[in-house]
């Protein structure tokens, strides 16, 4: 069964169409990467899934239950980390988690046990200060802890790593990896290396539509292609090389040979040596998620 199903969801703010038919589904025990540029509609989609936003059309099911605007019962099985989480500055982390736990209806013994577990998971267990003195990264970690408190079936993280330094990012990704044992995770991001690191399934969002949805293996299968990038020392040599290799294209001052095999590579090197053409750089470039992303969104 899919934990989350989004079908043809649309939303306009005034005359501005933000979502124009977003569809994707998240299976159980999966880390789902929700990728898109800033302003592509990621946060809007997530808010719609949480019933914080009234959609104009389409359906959203969480754990088999329809999401409705306002007080939606489906929120009981979701944990959510907003893009900029805001907490009550006058509480400490433990008190905040206790408040969250009690709201979800956990009994006080369970809340205490679960809070300790989660604070350890996110590395805030030795922190007794009030939240008002927390750094951005600490707030983000507390945000993940509060999202996990009621053992949700679906964890929704909105840009959990975007505002963090590389160390903070790695910590958050490790926490997400640890959390996926217990729950499905959907997280939005525009940092593709994060997706490659931990996701098993992805959707690309572009212009308010899902431009691609599939497993990470499907993406790996799409890769395959390697390209060669050649920078010449003298730009006057460009035409000679292009004449010998018609497939080459001049992009940003570099000669790019798409779909180049190992054989093409040796031929090129032999040609350069024979013609005595000095180069500054020759690079084999494996296409990555970014290229596929660019291809999908048509750039």
């Amino acid at each position: 069964m899919n934990v989350l199903e989004v079908r043809e969801v649309s939303k306009s703010f005034g005359s501005k169409k933000v979502l124009g038919g977003v569809s994707f589904s998240v299976p159980e025990n999966c880390v789902f990467g929700f990728i898109g540029r800033n302003g592509a509609g990621k946060t809007t989609t997530m808010r719609a899934v949480l019933g914080l936003l009234e959609t104009d059309g389409g359906e959203i099911d969480v754990c088999g239950q329809r999401v409705s605007y306002g007080n939606t019962p489906t929120n009981g099985c979701i944990g959510y980390l907003p893009d900029v989480p805001e907490f009550y500055g006058y509480m400490n982390a433990r008190e905040y988690l206790a408040l969250c736990g009690r709201i979800t209806g956990m009994d006080s013994g369970d809340v205490r046990k679960r809070s300790s577990e989660l604070l350890e998971l996110v590395g805030l267990d030795k922190e007794n200060h009030r939240i008002k003195g927390y750094s951005r990264g600490m707030k983000q970690r507390l945000g993940i802890a509060q999202a996990l408190i009621n053992r949700p079936k679906l964890l929704i993280l909105d840009e959990p790593t975007s505002a963090l330094d590389p160390v903070g990012r790695k910590e958050i990704l490790d926490i997400i990896s640890a959390a996926k044992e217990q729950t499905s995770v959907i997280f939005s991001t525009h940092i593709l290396s994060d997706v490659e690191r931990i996701c098993s399934r992805v959707a690309f969002l572009e212009g308010g539509r899902t431009a691609f949805e599939g497993g990470i293996d499907e993406i790996r299968a799409m890769k395959g292609d390697t390209a060669l990038e050649l920078s010449l020392a003298r730009s006057s040599d460009t035409d000679r090389v292009k004449a010998a290799f018609p497939a080459a294209e001049l992009i940003d001052g570099k000669l790019v040979f798409p779909k180049a095999s190992d054989r093409d590579c040796s031929e090129l090197m032999a040609f350069l040596a024979a013609q005595n053409i000095p180069i500054t750089r020759l690079e084999r470039h494996e296409s990555d998620l970014e290229d596929i992303f660019m291809e999908v969104i048509g750039k």
Binding site: Y88, G89, Y90, K132
Partner: protein, 68 residues
């Protein structure tokens, strides 16, 4: 005159205690914080000290203190 003052003491003593603790706390708060919702430290010090005994501190807590 002496007996007259004594007659006022039951009113004056608690009033002075409450007002001065309010004044003391607002001064403490102003010095412990660098930024305020409106205005700056100098303005709030003047308001709290000059603003008729308890009105100054109340104004500070309503308009000057930053939310946590």
């Amino acid at each position: 005159m002496n007996t007259e003052i004594r007659e006022y003491l039951p009113l004056l003593i608690p009033l002075v205690i409450v007002q001065f603790s309010l004044l003391g706390y607002s001064l403490f708060h102003i010095f412990r914080h660098k930024s305020y919702k409106h205005g700056n430290r100098a303005i709030w010090l003047v308001v709290v000290l000059v603003g008729m005994n308890f009105i100054g501190p109340i104004l500070y807590f309503i308009f000057g203190r930053e939310e946590e």
